[in-house]
């Protein structure tokens, strides 16, 4: 198998994998919204409500923050 052939296979597989990942991501987006884990559309409000004192929009993470990174 010469480098050309190897290259062709590598391209093919990598392309397929990336395409699968992309579609998997679509499924993930809709599923996690349906299950109520996330609300992506709410993130659109980040642009609208961007005063420095307003409350952060993102509440998509149901787990409490483990460590406070804002110091």
């Amino acid at each position: 198998m010469d480098i050309r052939e190897l290259q062709a296979y590598a391209t093919l597989f990598a392309t397929i994998i990336l395409a699968v990942v992309l579609y998997w991501y679509i499924v993930y987006l809709y599923r996690s919204e349906k299950k109520g884990e996330k609300d992506y559309e709410k993130l659109g409000d980040i642009a609208l409500d961007d005063e420095i004192h307003s409350k952060p929009i993102n509440t998509s993470d149901p787990l409490p923050e483990k460590k406070e990174r804002n110091k």
Binding site: Y25, E33, D45, A47, D50, I57
Partner: protein
């Protein structure tokens, strides 16, 4: 993160980049208008002696508008909205503040060096990478500084989720970093030859066909990561904020993002169709160029749908006019590009004026309009004054829209005319036209294009005037406007 009543967003750096956007816009487009006129009226080549020929000025035009006007605009808006969507002020971090200011200073040094060296003819001639090696090193410094600034701010953010615009800016940072480095690999001849000749000169690490592939991998993706990715990021912030409507579909914006990231890089080879690069590279570039329509239109349609139910704003607010027309031009040029990337169309279009035509409906109609609307939106907020004149913005909008339409229609006709004449043969199979016939025939179109340049320039001067008056003489605002920008 205690709440501090006095805490405000800090726009020092955003303001600095706003000034350079205006200055470089004026300089770059003035040169552009001049060289457009030179093609119609060659006598204009002799205004500045050796330094005023079309050939010397053309790279100056492209570099000043791309790296002066456009990048300044991208950074002015970036230093503005990044703080806001992350809900953290630059005043909260000394490091972020330092990085921002340092970024601006080094940027100004590079920009000055770029203008001077290109005037002198010190150039690598690789398109949009013309700067020689000492400036290239500074570019790396600037870019890394900007990246550090971004990640510093992200590190101390209050808003945990990164807004989609931030994603686009991160991608810009990474994409350009990688491509620029690879394309500008060069060996300074002074050091490699034991101190002979000019210190600024260098030779490319790659030769011939390889150099071409690396160059257009960069050239195309400079288009991707400077003209497209950050500009999409800008519209995702400014259109919703100015109209008060959240993005129509946030999920679609995420998908378009990944689609764009994945597909864009493959398309670079379409600048080298019918050349000596391997066939499969050419074919793949062609195919991916067509696929590229999907993620591009995904973003553009998302923007148009964001206005759903609020189309009345289009008549009431000239900034919305700019934003909507920008996304429409984005759709036009991302459809036009793939058409030109089809091999049979490319055979006619390549090397003709259709290419600059395509570039300009993108950069004038999409990029410049986005920069204008971004800065107009920011002005009342960073200068705390109302925009000086609404009617000036309206007039600017119509004049510049006319200019863009004149530009691309004349260049479409010029390009296709020339492409067809180059290949026209008579009944015996002999070429019908000598080369000069295909040049003289274009005179009227070049004249129209020069007129388009003058019109766009007039609009730009109106923009600059409006901005300066806003900074200096407009009515003060006591409270920050929430959505629609106030204007007199």
């Amino acid at each position: 993160m205690q709440s501090n009543a006095a805490l405000e967003y800090d726009y020092t750096v955003a303001k600095l980049f706003t000034y350079t956007t205006i200055v470089f816009g004026l300089v770059g487009m003035l040169i552009g208008t001049l060289i457009a006129a030179q093609m119609a009226f060659p006598e204009l080549n002799y205004l500045l002696g050796e330094y005023g020929t079309f050939s010397r000025l053309r790279p100056l035009h492209t570099n000043v508008v791309i790296y002066g006007f456009m990048l300044s605009g991208i950074w002015a808006t970036g230093y503005y909205f990044m703080q806001r969507v992350l809900k953290v002020s630059m005043a909260e971090s000394k490091l972020a503040m330092f990085l921002g200011k340092f970024h601006f200073v080094v940027y100004l040094v590079i920009a000055t060096g770029m203008v001077v060296s290109l005037f002198m003819g010190i150039t690598t001639t690789k398109e949009y990478a013309q700067m020689e090696w000492p400036l290239d090193i500074l570019v790396v410094v600037v870019w890394v500084t900007w990246g550090l600034w971004m990640f510093t701010l992200i590190g101390i953010r209050r808003e945990k989720a990164l807004y989609i615009s931030v994603w686009y800016y991160i991608a810009t940072f990474l994409g350009v970093a990688m491509l620029y480095l690879f394309n500008n690999m060069e060996v300074p001849t002074y050091f490699a030859s034991g101190g002979v000749g000019a210190i600024t000169h260098s030779v490319s690490m790659y030769a011939g066909t390889n150099d071409a592939m690396v160059q257009w991998w960069w050239g195309h993706n400079a288009v991707a990561f400077v003209f497209t990715v950050p500009i999409v990021g800008m519209i995702y912030y400014f259109l919703p904020k100015e109209s008060g409507q959240a993005v129509y579909s946030y999920k679609l914006s995420l998908l378009s993002f990944w689609g764009l990231m994945f597909v864009y890089l493959w398309a670079g080879g379409h600048h080298l169709l019918w050349s000596t690069v391997p066939d499969w590279v050419q074919t793949m570039a062609s195919i991916f160029s067509v696929i590229l329509i999907l993620p591009s239109w995904g973003s553009a349609i998302n923007m148009l749908l964001t206005m759903k139910g609020e189309w009345n704003q289009l008549t009431e607010n000239p900034i919305i006019k700019f934003l909507i027309l920008a996304s429409t031009f984005y759709m036009l040029s991302t459809l036009e590009g793939p058409i030109q990337a089809v091999k049979s169309v490319n055979a006619i279009a390549h090397f003709t004026d259709w290419i600059p035509g395509h570039v300009h409906d993108g950069v004038l109609g999409w990029v410049a309009f986005m920069v204008f609307s971004g800065l107009y939106h920011m002005a009342p907020r960073i200068f705390k004054r109302e925009i000086y004149s609404k009617s000036l913005i309206e007039a600017q909008f119509w004049i510049q829209t006319t200019a863009v339409v004149l530009y691309f229609t004349s260049m479409w006709i010029a390009g296709i005319t020339q492409g067809m004449m180059w290949r026209a043969v008579d009944e015996y199979g002999n070429l019908m036209y000598s080369f000069i016939d295909t040049v003289t025939v274009l005179h009227p179109y070049y004249a129209i294009r020069a007129l388009a340049g003058v019109l766009f320039m007039i609009g730009l001067v109106m923009f600059a005037y409006n901005m300066i008056m806003t900074m200096a003489a407009s009515k003060k605002l006591t409270e920050e406007p929430q959505f629609r920008s106030p204007m007199a």
